[in-house]
């Protein structure tokens, strides 16, 4: 579950979705969502593109083992 979106900060501009190089994100009802978590490269391009500091990262289990 790599990027986590703060719906209070997100302005739904979708820049994160557009800039994801792996087509991993899509727009959900309130915020973007990680549609394909296993295909995330953890590159942070979504966060670099976000103008609202609305994205944090939660590293998946396998990266902690």
């Amino acid at each position: 579950m790599p990027p986590v979106f703060d719906e209070k900060k997100c302005v739904k501009c979708q820049k994160c979705v557009t800039n994801c190089p792996g087509y991993v994100l899509r727009m959900g009802k309130e915020t973007p969502e990680v549609a394909f978590p296993d295909e995330c490269w953890h590159c942070g391009c979504c966060r670099v593109a976000c103008t609202q500091s609305a994205i944090s990262f939660e590293f998946p289990l396998h990266t902690r083992l």
Binding site: H42, F59, T63
Partner: protein, 545 residues
């Protein structure tokens, strides 16, 4: 389902918008050419550089071992086929590319006297690696610069074939992975910039093929499309890359750790790299990986760690908080998840997945065996990629200025249009997903074509590849994104099959990220490139140069 057709024309077509493509597009545009760059991703985040980078390699003629001859002695190795002429192109592009990056807003680290802060890396004789500040911003800054200078950028288009007019390049075709449009691009000249190596062909300890060191979205277009267009590719059997990864995470950064003095320790707490390279951890990466692998075989690990606790507080801070997030923006999130602090405890590392690829063969002017088709992506680092892209862009623009627009083979275009959507609109009765197919591919590559292999194991791998080939027509997709992955899977399959055959030709050990157990010693007579090409019937052909 109906698909629109889009046709573009340009003087110089740049195939791929990573670091190489950026260099090529900028140089060709500066030379006055009409330039179009195309990529499956978006310029702001595509390629390996999309993940950021913390160092830029450059000789600056100001220190000892800091000039062209030193650069050529290191990079113009017989095995890769990289000539001193091509290295000269890179050398002559270094200062212009640094200026471009600074104009684009990138900040390099400086010493108190104003000189660039640089480190020695990869067993090189001089301190060539300039430290970058905020390396994760490189790509957006370059993208802004490139769009502003008038390069036409066609994002989100997956290129599936190069088009030719007789013996010369005529363009490419592909499709838009977001809206399905069929895309044909006609050009006078083109530059291949799709990337030196590809991921998703082997596993690291996590068995998550997208959790890897280099971009997992680079899948062999550079080599496969070049071969299918009639170009030859050098060093497919020696271009394997691999690195030490932070445990469980596909991240770069080892150059910064090694060049600042990180010490690798085995499970016994012993520093061992002196056995494998006179420059210890800061020597050749193949020695670090294969040395660690050897320690593992001898029972001295895992775990392995990189110890930076002896660093000064400022060096540790600079490494962990400036350089590492520059190489991958999420590095500090990983550190928080695992309570990593370079000043307090060593960083656990693992031997990562293996990457494969090859150098498209070219003249000193970087023209391939296909007339008017130039190549970059001859080195896998940011600087090498961008600088050789820059020189290739210059050559391609000069040729375009004296070249007429070629004709497109409409029959080939129509054939692609009628078949490329098949996995989506005409799936077979029992379709197979790209994930299932690629899991099978990695199963073969890891088991039979791993760090240790023999002729017998590789021949057995080719038998398994025949089974995988039976599944190619069954690959199915339920949307555009899956169709993109299906085309990537097909490309990865082709890349691996040619690679295995190339590896069978090199009957020695010691030059690569793997060992031939049946040929354990170095063969001095094989210190030369092996060129791979495809015959008219698709058979793979080899020639020692």
């Amino acid at each position: 389902m109906e698909f629109d057709k889009k046709l573009y024309e340009t003087d110089v077509l740049v195939l791929g918008s990573g670091a190489s493509g950026c260099g090529a597009a900028i140089a060709a545009r500066r030379a006055g050419a009409d330039v179009l760059m195309v990529d499956k991703g978006r310029l702001e985040s595509s390629g390996n550089l999309g993940g950021g980078n913390d160092h830029f390699m450059a000789v600056l003629d100001v220190d000892e071992h800091d000039g062209y001859e030193d650069l050529a002695d290191y990079w113009a190795t017989p095995v890769t086929g990289m000539t001193r002429g091509v290295v000269r192109n890179m050398y002559e592009s270094m200062k212009p590319c640094i200026s471009i990056l600074e104009e684009a807003g990138l900040e390099f680290k400086h010493n108190p006297d104003g000189s660039y802060m640089r480190s020695v890396g990869f067993g090189q004789p001089g301190a060539w690696w300039i430290h970058i500040d905020h390396g994760f911003t490189v790509k957006p800054k370059l993208a802004k610069y490139i769009r502003k200078m008038g390069v036409k950028v066609v994002d989100n288009v997956q290129v599936l074939a190069l088009l030719k007019d007789d013996d010369r390049i005529a363009g490419c075709l592909g499709w838009n992975v977001k809206n399905g449009d069929f895309v044909v691009i006609r050009c006078k000249t083109a530059v291949l910039c799709f990337g030196l190596v590809s991921e998703r062909v082997s596993n690291n300890s996590t068995h998550k093929p997208f959790n890897v060191w280099y971009s997992p979205y680079v899948t062999g277009s550079q080599q496969v499309l070049a071969l299918e267009a009639g170009a030859s590719v050098n060093a497919m059997e020696t271009s394997d890359m691999c690195t030490m990864l932070p445990k469980g995470w596909g991240a770069p950064g080892m150059n910064g750790i090694n060049n600042m003095g990180g010490r690798e320790l085995n499970a016994k707490g012993e520093r061992f790299m002196g056995k494998y390279d006179p420059m210890w951890e800061n020597g050749l990466r193949v020695h670090q990986v294969m040395g660690t692998y050897n320690e593992m075989l001898e029972g001295s690990g895992p775990p392995f760690v990189m110890d930076m606790t002896h660093f000064s507080a400022e060096d540790a801070r600079h490494l962990q908080y400036d350089l590492m997030p520059g190489d991958k923006e999420t590095y500090l999130d990983y550190c928080r998840a695992r309570n990593i602090d370079f000043t307090k405890a060593p960083l656990e590392v693992e031997i990562g997945e293996r990457l494969i690829g090859g150098l498209v063969a070219c003249s000193d002017e970087q023209e391939t065996d296909v007339r008017n088709l130039y190549t970059s992506s001859l080195l896998g680092n940011f600087s090498g990629a961008m600088c050789l892209g820059y020189s290739a862009g210059r050559f391609a623009a000069a040729r375009a200025a004296e070249t007429s627009m070629p004709a497109i083979d409409q029959a080939e275009v129509d054939s692609w249009f009628s078949t490329l959507y098949d996995p989506l609109i005409r799936p077979c009765a029992r379709p197979v997903s790209y994930t299932t197919f690629e899991d099978g591919l990695r199963q073969v590559m890891d088991y039979y074509v791993g760090f240790q292999r023999t002729e017998g194991s590789m021949l057995r791998a080719l038998e398994s590849m025949k089974v995988l080939e039976e599944y190619l027509p069954r690959l199915g997709a339920s949307d555009f994104r899956e169709l993109m992955r299906v085309h990537e899977s097909r490309e990865l399959f082709k890349l691996c099959r040619v690679y295995i055959q190339a590896c069978l030709q090199r009957k020695e050990s010691g030059r690569t990220m793997y060992r031939r157990a049946d040929y354990p010693d170095l063969d001095p007579s094989l210190n030369r490139p092996l060129a791979t090409s495809l015959a008219a019937d698709g058979a793979v052909e080899f020639a020692w140069k």
